[in-house]
Structure formats: structure tokens, C-alpha cells
């Protein structure tokens, strides 16, 4: 019994040590974000701020506030439209199968594994041909489409569990494809919608490379690119950098802490 107990203690020590290790960079960042430049140099990076100040947070917010709204708009439009497209595709692939639909489904899923580098050069040209290059519109278009394969995948897993008889009954009443989708399938999709939407929110919010390449001018940047610029232009101002990082990190941290249950479903379901 005693051996078991000491083993339990070791187990908890290991788990807690790992947790501290995981939190260390985050804590160091948070602590530094609330310090004055002087205190940053005088104290160690992990001591909590003795005289907490909001100046770095306010200064960095000033630098990235337009981008925060940009990213918010990108997230909103990207999530709604890609979930919409994704659920339609998933519904057809799951409940309205036709010859070749399995192949098409595989082609959609394989899009998840296409590295973005392949699309960078073509899309610079495509977006400039469409008159979208350099402004937020290019990113709105991309995020509306690029989330669709993953949403299709998540919705299809759930739709496969809906028994066909559900739909058969409606079909006997003469309901068409579109009516069944709106009256039967969509009301069942609230949970997968939450899972897919949270996943898309984090992916779009955290995305960097598309904003870097397709937008130009301070006013059009998504928040990650704005943070990278802030990091580049205030090299030694650590408190300002950390404060900026904190603003960008906040929404996704909140999602993972309070809605982790759904997020985990999305990531484990892949």
C-alpha cells in the first residue's frame, strides 16, 4: 500500500512538473506584459510584476487594434460560409450518394493535406486578376473556401450516424433535396457546427502566411501579421512584444479554456 502511495506522489509530481514547463513561456510572457521597461531589466522574467502597469498593453493595442477588427471580420465570414458549404457537401456525400461521390469526398478530404506553399504563387496571380490582391477581400475569399474541406469532414462524421430512415420518411412526403437539408439535417447540426466553427475560428485567427502574402498596407493586415510587424519594429521592447502577443493569444486561449470539450472533439476526430 505504501509503495502504491509513493508511486502516486511521483506521478503527480511528474504531471505537475510538466504542466509548469508547459506554462512557463506563457507565464513569462504574461508577467513581462505588465512590467515597465525598467522593471523588465531589473527583475527576472518569471517574477510577477511588483508595480503592474497597463501601459504596454494599451500601447500595443493601439498598434494592432485595426488588425484585431480585421481578423474578427475574417473569422466571422470565414466560419459561417465554410460551415455552410461544408455541411452541404457532407449532407450530399452522406445522404444523397451518387456514383463517384465517394471519390469526390476523398478528393475533398485530400485538400486537407495539400501544403499551402503550393498555392502561394498561383493565388497571388489569381487574386490580382480578380482585383482582390492587397486588400482584405482576398483573405475573405480564401478563408470562406479553405475551411470547407475540414468542415465537410467534421459534418460527415455526424451525418453518417443519422439513420437513413429519418430522411426516407420525409422523402415519402415529397420533400426535395434542399427541403430535407433545411428541415431535417440542419436542425440536427448544432453540435458539429460548434465543433467545426471553433476549429475554424482558431485556424483562421492563428493563420499567418496568407495574410503575409496577400495583404499590404497597415489597414489590411490580419492580427498575426500585425504582431509579427510589431515584433520586428520594437526589437528590444520586450514588454510591448509580450503585451501584443497577449492580445493575439487571448481569444483562442479563452476558447480552449472554456470550450475545450468541443475543441478536443474537433482535434481528436481528425
Amino acid at each position: 500500500m505504501r509503495i502504491v502511495k509513493s508511486r502516486r506522489i511521483v506521478l503527480y509530481i511528474v504531471l505537475i512538473a510538466f504542466a509548469i514547463l508547459m506554462l512557463l513561456p506563457l507565464w513569462s510572457g504574461i508577467a513581462t506584459a505588465f512590467k515597465t521597461s525598467k522593471e523588465v531589466i531589473l527583475t527576472t522574467p518569471i517574477t510577477p510584476p511588483l508595480h503592474p502597469t497597463l501601459t504596454p498593453l494599451i500601447e500595443s493595442l493601439d498598434y494592432i487594434k485595426k488588425s484585431l477588427i480585421n481578423s474578427l471580420v475574417l473569422v466571422g465570414s470565414g466560419v459561417m460560409v465554410s460551415c455552410f458549404f461544408g455541411s452541404i457537401l457532407a449532407y450530399v456525400f452522406s445522404k444523397r450518394r451518387f456514383r463517384g461521390s465517394i471519390t469526390l469526398f476523398f478528393l475533398v478530404v485530400f485538400c486537407l493535406y495539400v501544403p499551402p506553399q503550393v498555392q502561394l504563387i498561383p493565388l497571388v496571380r489569381v487574386t490580382s486578376r480578380l482585383g482582390l490582391h492587397g486588400n482584405l477581400g482576398a483573405l475573405v475569399l480564401l478563408y470562406m473556401l479553405f475551411g470547407t474541406p475540414m468542415c465537410t469532414f467534421i459534418f460527415k462524421i455526424l451525418y453518417d450516424e443519422v439513420p437513413d430512415s429519418f430522411i426516407g420518411a420525409a422523402k415519402l412526403d415529397g420533400a426535395g433535396t434542399w427541403t430535407i437539408y433545411r428541415q431535417i439535417i440542419l436542425p440536427l447540426s448544432v453540435i458539429p457546427f460548434i465543433v467545426a466553427a471553433l476549429l475554424q475560428v482558431t485556424i483562421i485567427w492563428n493563420d499567418f502566411i496568407w495574410g503575409l502574402i496577400l495583404t499590404s498596407g497597415e489597414a489590411n493586415l490580419p492580427v498575426t501579421v500585425a504582431l509579427a510587424n510589431l515584433k520586428g519594429s520594437f526589437v528590444a521592447k520586450w514588454n510591448l512584444q509580450m503585451a501584443g502577443a497577449l492580445w493575439v493569444a487571448l481569444p483562442t486561449l479563452i476558447i480552449f479554456i472554456f470550450l475545450g470539450k468541443y475543441v478536443i472533439r474537433g482535434y481528436a476526430g481528425r
Binding site: 506521478l11 504531471l15 510538466f18 504542466a19 508547459m22 512557463l24 513561456p25 513569462s28 510572457g29 531589466i41 527576472t44 522574467p45 458549404f85 452541404i88 450530399v92 444523397r96 451518387f98 478528393l107 475533398v108 485538400c111 493535406y113 495539400v114 501544403p115 499551402p116 506553399q117 503550393v118 502561394l120 504563387i121 498561383p122 493565388l123 489569381v126 473556401l145 479553405f146 470547407t148 437513413d164 426516407g168 422523402k171 433535396t177 434542399w178 492563428n206 493563420d207 502566411i209 502574402i213 509579427a228 515584433k231 512584444q241 509580450m242 501584443g244 502577443a245 493575439v248 483562442t252 486561449l253 476558447i255 479554456i257 475545450g260 475543441v263 478536443i264 482535434y267 481528436a268 481528425r270
Partner: protein, 294 residues
């Protein structure tokens, strides 16, 4: 359920436009990218000439390419197994009916919530030679001899990057394996416990062999990342010092958007695409076959 002709038309009318746009953005672009790699396109000038595989042969004599490829292989050889191993170990530890399991899981997953730009900013601070967290902590612990320039040292910069990436992905890996362990039917493990198996044999003989699915999922996800990585290193140190931490994604970005050699950049991205196809298609095939067997 068979569809009749009218239904088929309406289904196709709904689905085909969406599919067409998506396939255009993924597959047509991949094809066009390959085509560009055979030209001498400069990006700003709209005209270009076909030059065949000349770009590919000059790639073979490009030392930056070999450095980048080597670093990508380093990610595949160290980052991927490392993150899988840590995920497996901590999934098993959490599985020991730990109190506050949810809290540990959430904490471990937190770094994965962050954008690579955020984590790169945090780790620049961690690794900063003079005032950074790691060096200051080492000094406080009277281990000054272990202090180092970290990401400014060409010899260890890649390992610093890999450590930070493992930190970021470890929680994700834990989630994958925990899901796998939890989906093993309890009857399997109960039988072994009745037979008096120690918990070590229980795991090595019974549980780990049944985690093939989790291993494959993890392998695909982390492998994909190891091939296409860009954001973290770019924000951390732009592939420096010199070219020592360049990976294919960084080299591609630099050639294309810094030096305006679009065609040459397209060669890099074609290589990235081929690498991911070579690694991912067999794995997807294996997963598909396993699911059929079930």
C-alpha cells in the same frame, strides 16, 4: 438510397459549383504551380518562357536547398517521434485515474491554442541571450555554464526550434493518444488485470499495440506539419543565423517573395508537395484499409 433523375440533377446543381471552386483553388493551383516551375517567370513581368527542367537542375547545385532539406529531415526524424513519444507517455500517465484530469489536459493543450506568431514571440523572449527567460533562470540556479546563445548559435538553433515546437504540439499529441486509450474496450484490459499482469506489461502488451490508429493519426498530422512548416521559424529568426535554420518553406518564401524569383520558388513548392504526397498517400491508404477491415 437510390436517387431518381430529378434528385440527381438538383444534388449536382447544389454541389458542383462548390466543388468546382474548391478543386480550382487546391488542385488547379497545384498543377499551375508545377507549370510555373518549368518557366522563367519573374512575377512582375506578365510574360514568361518555358525553360524545361532548368530550374530543377540549378536547384541541385544550390546549397541553400540542401541545408533546407536537411533541416526538414531533422524535423521529421526528431520532432515527429519526439512529439509522439511525449504524447504517448503523458497520455498513459493521465490515464492513471488522476484527480483533476481535465485541468492537466487543458493546461497541456494551451500552447496549441496559440498562433505560431505568438509562440515564436514567446520563444524569442525565452531564448534571448542576454535577458531571456532560460538564461536568467540558469543563472539563478547557479548553472551559468549551461548558458548559451540558443537561437543565435548555428550549431544548436534547429534543436532549439524543435524543442519549442514539441512544447507547442505535445498537448495535441496527448489528446490523440488519450482518445485512443479511452476507445479500447475495457473488457480487453480487465482480462489482463485478472491474469495478474503488471501495469507495465499491461501497457506494452495490451494497450500500446491497440493504438495503431492513434499512431497513424499523429504521424500524419505531425509529418504534414514537419514538411510544410513556415510561420514559427520565420517569425522566430527568419531562418537565421545565416541559412542555418532554413527549411523548405522558408527558402520557398524567400526565393519567391523576397528575391522575386517566382519560377524558382515554384520549384521549392513543387518539392514540398511531392514530399507530402510521397509520405501521406501510403499512410492514408493504410488507414483506409484498416477501417475497411473493421
Amino acid at each position: 438510397m437510390e436517387l431518381n433523375k430529378n434528385e440527381k440533377i438538383s444534388v449536382l446543381l447544389i454541389v458542383l459549383p462548390i466543388l468546382a471552386i474548391i478543386f480550382f483553388f487546391f488542385y488547379y493551383c497545384a498543377g499551375w504551380n508545377f507549370f510555373i516551375s518549368l518557366t522563367d517567370w519573374k512575377g512582375f513581368i506578365p510574360t514568361y518562357n518555358l525553360v524545361g527542367f532548368r530550374n530543377y537542375s540549378s536547384l541541385l547545385h544550390d546549397s541553400i536547398f540542401w541545408t533546407s532539406l536537411k533541416n526538414n529531415l531533422l524535423l521529421i526524424v526528431i520532432f515527429v517521434p519526439g512529439v509522439i513519444l511525449i504524447g504517448l507517455i503523458f497520455a498513459i500517465l493521465i490515464d492513471q485515474r488522476v484527480k483533476g484530469e481535465g485541468i492537466f489536459r487543458t493546461i497541456y493543450l494551451l500552447p496549441f491554442a496559440l498562433s505560431f506568431v505568438v509562440t515564436a514571440t514567446l520563444w524569442t523572449w525565452m531564448y534571448s541571450p542576454r535577458v531571456g527567460t532560460i538564461n536568467v533562470l540558469l543563472e539563478k540556479l547557479r548553472l551559468s555554464s549551461l548558458k548559451s546563445g540558443w537561437i543565435t548559435e548555428p550549431n544548436i538553433v534547429m534543436y532549439c526550434i524543435i524543442t519549442a515546437l514539441i512544447w507547442q504540439f505535445a498537448g495535441y499529441s496527448v489528446i490523440i493518444f488519450l482518445g485512443g486509450i479511452r476507445s479500447i474496450p475495457e473488457s480487453h484490459t480487465e482480462a489482463a488485470k485478472v491474469d495478474g499482469a503488471s501495469s507495465f506489461t499491461l501497457y506494452t502488451r495490451i494497450i500500446i499495440p491497440q493504438l495503431t490508429g492513434s499512431f497513424m493519426t499523429g504521424f500524419i498530422i505531425f509529418m504534414c506539419f514537419a514538411i510544410k512548416a513556415f510561420d514559427f521559424i520565420w517569425v522566430l529568426n527568419k531562418g537565421g543565423p545565416g541559412y542555418t535554420s532554413h527549411i523548405l518553406g522558408i527558402a520557398m518564401y524567400k526565393e519567391t517573395f523576397v528575391l522575386d524569383k517566382y519560377a524558382y520558388g515554384a520549384v521549392y513548392s513543387t518539392i514540398i508537395f511531392l514530399l507530402s504526397i510521397v509520405i501521406i498517400i501510403p499512410l492514408l491508404y493504410l488507414i483506409h484499409r484498416r477501417e475497411k477491415l473493421k
